[in-house]
């Protein structure tokens, strides 16, 4: 079955929302992981200050992803969520834990309790990132469904592949976090983040290559798509370019370069995933076309998306730029 252009645009809008979430809130989650692992109170506060004004807006992309999936591809929404019942619920509880820990930490009586709160922030961040990886992994692995409803036993996500994806995403998010802190902080924290970012880069890239190879073994269609020369050659070239950019970024005065290259690597991985799945939205058989809501509903939303998302990006960027630049804290 062919995929018509309204469905393609809708899929593009949805992919854009999910990817924005992964890149933006992924960075916040990574900072959360690193905060829980940092001993010095002043440094932890500096890390918190870098994300406090923006994390809420970043998380909104996840709400858009949920609303978008329901609105644009209701069948996929109705199959995926029951299949991933426990991971999703754990993810939401983890995100609530994170939000409370981050916003209330300043009211903690005493440094030891504050350390505990930051420990909870770490737990919430790891759990949220891990479950998001599990969700993506389960999707790629395939979800048994029939007649628009989920037909599995609720435990497909407990397989090795989804769990591996969870681990990859946590490591990747932490990599983003380290790059972000390299950009936004000064002094010892800045230097340590640079070292962490380089080590995490090596680990993440190895994990991602294993992940892509593993994905190819799951389904012959994936293997065919990924081994196509028009797919893997540009992908490898881009990966090398991004990694060179990442390494050189540390010599530049533009401290945002390593982060942007790291995000680029994940955009690439995300595009590869979509390339492997297309035109399916829920493997093994549900296509974008079959899962789509009516053209009338999709058009109604695409118009809003086209008008409002550029405006949103403009004022979000403005909101971000107000608090940009290096963070220098004077207290715990």
């Amino acid at each position: 079955m062919d995929t018509d252009w309204i469905v393609l645009l809708s899929a593009g809008a949805l992919a854009f929302s999910v990817m924005n979430y992964v890149l933006l809130d992924g960075t916040d989650l990574g900072v959360g992981v690193l905060m829980g692992l940092t001993r010095c109170g002043k440094e932890r506060r500096a890390m918190a200050v870098t994300i406090l004004p923006i994390w809420d807006a970043n998380e909104t992309w996840l709400v858009l992803g949920g609303g978008g999936l329901l609105a644009l591809f209701p069948l996929a929404y109705a199959i995926l969520l029951p299949a991933l019942y426990l991971p999703f619920i754990l993810m939401f509880l983890a995100l609530i834990l994170r939000a409370v820990a981050l916003e209330f930490r300043d009211y903690a009586p005493g440094n030891r309790i504050k350390r505990v709160v930051d420990g909870l922030l770490l737990c919430g961040s790891v759990l949220a990132g891990g479950t998001q990886g599990i969700v993506l992994g389960t999707l790629v692995q395939g979800v048994p469904n029939h007649g628009g409803q989920y037909r599995g036993d609720g435990a497909e996500w407990l397989n090795l592949f989804p769990l591996f994806c969870g681990a990859v995403l946590v490591v990747g998010y932490t990599w983003f976090g380290a790059c972000w802190l390299y950009w936004r902080t000064v002094g010892e924290l800045h230097l340590r983040s640079s070292l962490q970012a380089k080590i995490l880069a090596a680990v993440t890239v190895v994990l991602l290559i294993v992940l892509v190879a593993w994905t190819a073994t799951l389904d012959t269609r994936y293997a065919q798509r990924l081994s196509d020369r028009l797919v893997w050659m540009p992908a490898m070239t881009l990966l090398v370019a991004l990694l060179v950019g990442f390494a050189l970024g540390f010599r530049s005065r533009r401290h945002f370069l390593p982060l942007f290259c790291a995000l680029g690597v994940f955009i690439l991985a995300f595009v590869l995933m979509i390339a492997a799945l297309f035109p399916m939205i829920v493997p093994p058989q549900l296509t974008l076309q079959a899962a789509a809501s009516s053209p009338k509903s999709q058009m109604f939303m695409l118009v809003g998306f086209a008008v409002l998302i550029p405006v949103t990006l403009i004022y979000n960027t403005y909101g971000f730029s107000v608090f940009s630049g290096k963070v220098r804290v004077n207290r715990d």
């Binding site: 500096a46 200050v49 870098t50 406090l52 004004p53 809420d56 807006a57 998380e59 909104t60 996840l62 709400v63 949920g66 609303g67 978008g68 329901l70 609105a71 644009l72 209701p74 069948l75 109705a78 199959i79 995926l80 969520l81 029951p82 019942y85 426990l86 999703f88 619920i89 939401f92 509880l93 609530i96 939000a99 409370v100 916003e103 209330f104 009211y107 409803q149 989920y150 037909r151 809501s293 009516s294 009338k296 509903s297 109604f300 939303m301 809003g304 409002l308 998302i309 949103t312 004022y315 979000n316 909101g319 971000f320 107000v322 608090f323 940009s324 630049g325 290096k326 963070v327 004077n330």
Partner: protein, 458 residues
């Protein structure tokens, strides 16, 4: 059937728990955002620092509330798929876009300007900052618009057709968005959010005045909140009556359950007001009924003899759980009348120049602090339990809306969520009360006062 029933009950309980916590946080966000907008506007207009001090004080509370509100709202965007995937398949075409527009038009506006509103005063200057506050307040109201439109569509579906596969298809977006019950619900809920915030602010200010009777900032916020109650509580009763009149037209069964009316009174006897009764679902009648004759006709039909359709005039399998609806409605109205009384009392005391000093008034206001939000929750119970056993009223049954998730998973998840919410929000409330114990100071600092200086150009 038994096992299926308990999965259904657990799924419904899960929705009730997640939405009850979220709706209070969201309504408080709406109320506080608009309260803050007024405060900052007054500060810019009159140039008196007291408004800024009160503004920055409540901004701290707003910061904590809105963050947790966002996080608790995330799960709701996904609840429709987690537990109600058949509803999502059937009605996703209509409901999805409404929720999508809520995110696009409201949440991004709110979240995008939130950082500037909370931490950016020193960075962007007062005028742009006021713009950010207004954007957040507008965003909160727009979000109420879209989500209530989605909710109202499920109560009074319009503008749709039913496809060959039985799914609801959108036909006329204008008719869907402005479906019949939407204007009433939007007005009633927005007022409830403002009124709930007003009784809360009044209660907290009264608590602070009991400790520091002379604090001018606590007096200012107490006075503002009481004025809100004076105006909004009676208005809310008028709007509630209109909403009820409309429900009588479109959901007569719900109104019969509210009234606990199992059989229609004889001609000319009029509808009684049942002040108390214990509705019995199996015997289909009331025990211990205490009723005032004809008063029901007065508020239902605005005369002394009119009657309404009774529960026995509808198919018995469509009867909602009458006792819950019956009691929740009486709680809501009782609290509403108390709030009207609170407003009138404040007027009398104000006239005698004693509103800030009379101890019983202050204590009464402290007791009334949760009244607005309690009434709001009762109202939601009335409207949501009252439309059972349907999700899309009259068209899709709740039992046919469920996901195919195992019973153990649903029950386990529901308990986990309940315990987690009680723990987390319990701690959150405790921290909030500790902050609120101290009234706003002169030169109030606001949330993260050093943040603006700590972030800077390179």
């Amino acid at each position: 059937m038994d096992a299926f029933d308990s999965a259904l009950m657990a799924a419904r309980a899960q929705f009730a728990i997640t939405i009850s916590f979220h709706i209070v946080l969201a309504a408080l966000s709406i109320g506080l955002a608009n309260f803050l907008m007024v405060l900052e506007g007054l500060w810019l207009w009159r140039g008196q620092k007291i408004y800024l001090d009160v503004y920055l004080y409540w901004l701290k509370i707003f910061a904590l509330n809105v963050a947790v509100g966002t996080a608790s709202g995330l799960i709701l965007e996904y609840q429709f798929g987690l537990n109600w995937s058949r509803l999502s398949t059937q009605a996703g075409d209509v409901l999805g876009p409404l929720m999508f527009y809520e995110v696009l038009a409201a949440f991004f506006l709110e979240a995008g300007f939130l950082g500037i509103m909370l931490f950016g005063m020193k960075k962007v200057g007062p005028r742009l900052h006021f713009f950010a506050t207004c954007a957040v307040a507008m965003g909160s109201l727009i979000s109420a618009f879209w989500i209530l439109s989605a909710n109202s569509w499920m109560q009074t579906p319009a503008g749709y057709s039913i496809g060959t596969d039985g799914r609801f298809m959108a036909e006329d977006w204008w008719a869907i968005i402005f479906n019949p019950s939407f204007p009433y619900r939007l007005a009633h809920m927005t007022l409830a959010a403002f009124l709930g915030t007003a009784t809360l602010v009044a209660g907290i200010s009264a608590w602070q005045l009991l400790r520091q009777p002379q604090n001018p900032r606590a007096r200012l916020q107490f006075s503002m909140a009481l004025w809100m109650i004076v105006v909004l509580a009676p208005l809310q009763i008028v709007v509630g009556d209109l909403h009820g009149q409309h429900s009588l037209k479109v959901q007569p069964l719900k109104v019969a359950a509210i009234e606990g009316s199992w059989t229609r009174p004889p001609d000319g006897a009029g509808e009684p007001l049942r002040v108390f009764a214990i509705p019995d679902m199996t015997e289909r009648r009331n025990h211990w009924e205490l009723a005032i004759p004809r008063v029901g006709s007065l508020y239902l039909r605005h005369d002394l003899t009119g009657t309404i359709a009774a529960l026995d005039e509808f198919p018995p399998e469509n009867t909602p759980p009458v006792p819950i609806v019956f009691f929740a409605f009486r709680f809501m109205v009782g609290l509403g009348l108390l709030m009207v009384g609170q407003g009138l009392t404040s007027l009398v005391l104000r006239w005698r120049h004693r509103v800030f000093t009379v101890l019983w008034m202050l204590r009464g206001c402290v007791l009334m602090a949760p009244a607005g939000f309690l009434a709001m929750l009762c109202g939601w119970v009335v409207t949501e339990v009252g439309r059972q056993p349907f999700t899309v009223y009259g068209l899709l049954r709740t039992a046919d809306s469920l996901s195919s998730v195992s019973r153990q998973q649903v029950i386990g998840a529901t308990w986990t969520i309940l315990v987690f919410y009680l723990l987390i929000f319990g701690i959150g409330l405790w921290v909030l009360l500790r902050i609120l114990r101290e009234p706003p100071r002169n030169d109030e600092a606001g949330p993260q006062p050093t943040l603006a200086d700590e972030t800077g150009q390179s």
